[in-house]
Symmetry: C2
């Protein structure tokens, strides 16, 4: 009997709705396992920002640190200036809690319609670096609003930061049947960062000789994602390229309504965070229209990370089975209905 | 009767083969128009680099400046370290000749197979900024090769640079039937550069009130490119996002074998440069297998830029007609055969 202390950041828009179903899936998956869940809700996001001007205080952060994991719904609202919540809350969590592995599995489940005419089998995972690159907030501007404005953005890449995520990606590739790792970058233009990534992949490959490595420029990678996605097994890439590729990957596997993600601190010096890839979707918020599947799949990643692979598999199988039955569904189900159906399948 | 002085940079790999057919198309299109073409070949690329260590000398550059336009085949070879020719030659040309509008039309020609199951009508153009962003070469690294290496890449964006390309994109949108402009950036993370782009689009919109503007984050833009590409009319974006989006755009419209591009200096202070989007494809070089269509379409962009719209239309129509007949073609044609067939159609 263990107690799982879960920090819950439902956030904005459809966040609350999908997180509710994620928690139901989690409780159901753990039922009878001896593991209990105790949740702490954190009031973070647009509402809190408008009420207090705060995004994420040091006190919030310290309180979150006292948990085993974080479940996050969605952050962002048009009423808040662009970047404020993204950088002040979501990215601040990723950076402060050292989520250097941003894991985004892409699988085309049987029964899901892909926009590709002939998608083939799609089952790969993107290991996106989460604490460096152009996301560091290391930019600035001078003479703002004048004809002489200069706005710079700096991508910071360190041997320390690249090596740890590359090693994690190799370990994941080594554990998969195909044992293939694709580095995606743009080293013919971003030569300094690109060569650091390339040299690091070459060096770490020596520790994982069983893994086959190849390289694609980011522009070419987008081509293969639509012409031959089956070629991918594990992709390792930087923060920004990973952001772009994983949305495209979600699109070819049925949309961001199904795309799960894990922001992992592999050293376990702070809680990891699990969140659907989709945003807060304010246009459909509060209407029970959001698909909670991506959140439920994120819960599977959470269970996996916490060393509960059997429970994780049950959740994933429930989703796969539910999806397989979807094409014949007679009507669109509400968020709560999908959550209930998934929970019923998880209960088995 | 006018003489068109054309600088020809055939370059590496399949560059020579496709440029030959591009020149044939150009000559044919101008036949009887009173405009003659005189070409100067520039020996630039991998061969020259290996022979002399040079990529693009000041003398080369000055000689190229004395021309009305440049036709470029492809640059790059695995025997040359990554980045040397890209930055020393291709990007140097784009930057030195102030090619601030990198124009990349995306059209799904009738008869072309798209990897999308239900592509719909695709006919948009990407206006990619060509002289700023992360392409400026303003990065560096310290402690290279040690565990303490730090490699930075800087994206530089100026009001001057953003405004001129945004104005060009608005003018193009205003001249098209749908009059729609989509700004693509990532202003929720790259806040300084992103807000400069956003403010600039808002400001220039006042000069083009008839143009409808919307905005997409780059990750979301990749989703729409595969789920609803018909939504796009003109896209304006930065150098790196444009690089990524245009390869994806090429993929959904039948591949980079068909994708043309123009590196334009709208102020005409230096010659503009026309090149297929595909690379040097060393794996098929010298075998007559390369599709010269993208180069021939780039010639159409060249004719358009030089104020010869009738000739440009003839070239584009020849390509469209040739493509429409392709599905019934009994065998794969060689580079020269495609070139000859296109020339025959241009001659009419
Ligand atoms: C909301 C935004 C800051 C975020 C990102 O860019 O990482 C999102 O797009 C994602 O992929 O999780
Ligand atoms: C070869 C490379 C430097 C170039 C670029 O990144 O601009 C190419 O990908 C392109 O799109 O023209």
């Amino acid at each position: 009997p263990r107690d799982l202390r879960l920090a819950v950041v439902a956030g904005d828009g459809i966040g609350t709705e999908v997180v509710e179903q994620g928690l139901l899936a989690l409780d159901t998956a753990l039922h009878g396992s001896g593991v209990t869940v105790s949740t702490t809700d954190f009031d973070l996001g647009a509402r809190r920002y408008h009420a207090t001007g705060e995004t994420l205080t040091d006190t919030d952060l310290e309180a979150i640190r006292g948990h085993d994991a974080i479940l996050l719904g969605a952050i962002g609202d048009p009423s808040v200036p662009s970047g404020v919540l993204e950088r002040g809350l979501l990215l601040r969590l990723r950076f402060a809690l050292d989520h250097y592995v941003n894991l985004r599995p892409s699988r085309l489940y049987p029964g899901v319609a892909s926009p590709l005419g002939n998608p083939g089998e799609i089952d790969f995972v993107v290991v996106r670096e989460g604490t460096e690159g152009p996301y560091v907030g290391n930019g600035g501007a001078i003479r703002v609003g004048t004809p002489h404005e200069v706005a710079n953005e700096v991508s910071v890449n360190t041997a320390f930061g690249v090596e740890r995520v590359v090693r994690d990606a190799f370990a994941r590739a080594a554990a998969r049947p195909r044992k293939k790792l694709t580095l995606v970058h743009k080293h013919n233009v971003l030569v300094h960062a690109g060569h650091l990534w390339r040299r690091t992949v070459e060096a770490v490959n020596a520790e994982f000789p069983e893994v086959t490595v190849d390289y694609l420029h980011v522009d070419a990678a987008t081509i293969f994602l639509v012409t031959n996605p089956s070629r991918f097994d594990v992709i390792v890439t930087d923060n920004l390229f990973g952001d772009i590729l994983t949305d495209l990957a979600a699109a070819i596997t049925g949309g961001i309504g199904l795309a799960a993600s894990a922001n992992i601190n592999p050293d376990r010096t702070a809680p990891s965070m699990f969140e659907p890839v989709h945003g807060s979707a304010p246009d459909i918020a509060g209407q029970g229209k959001a698909d909670p599947t991506a959140t439920v799949l994120s819960v599977a990643l959470l269970l996996e990370h916490l060393g509960l692979p059997a429970a994780a598999s049950r959740v994933e199988k429930a989703v796969a089975d539910d999806i397989a039955g979807r094409s014949s569904a007679e009507r669109v189900r509400s968020t709560a209905e999908v959550g209930k159906d998934l929970a019923a399948r998880i209960a088995g």
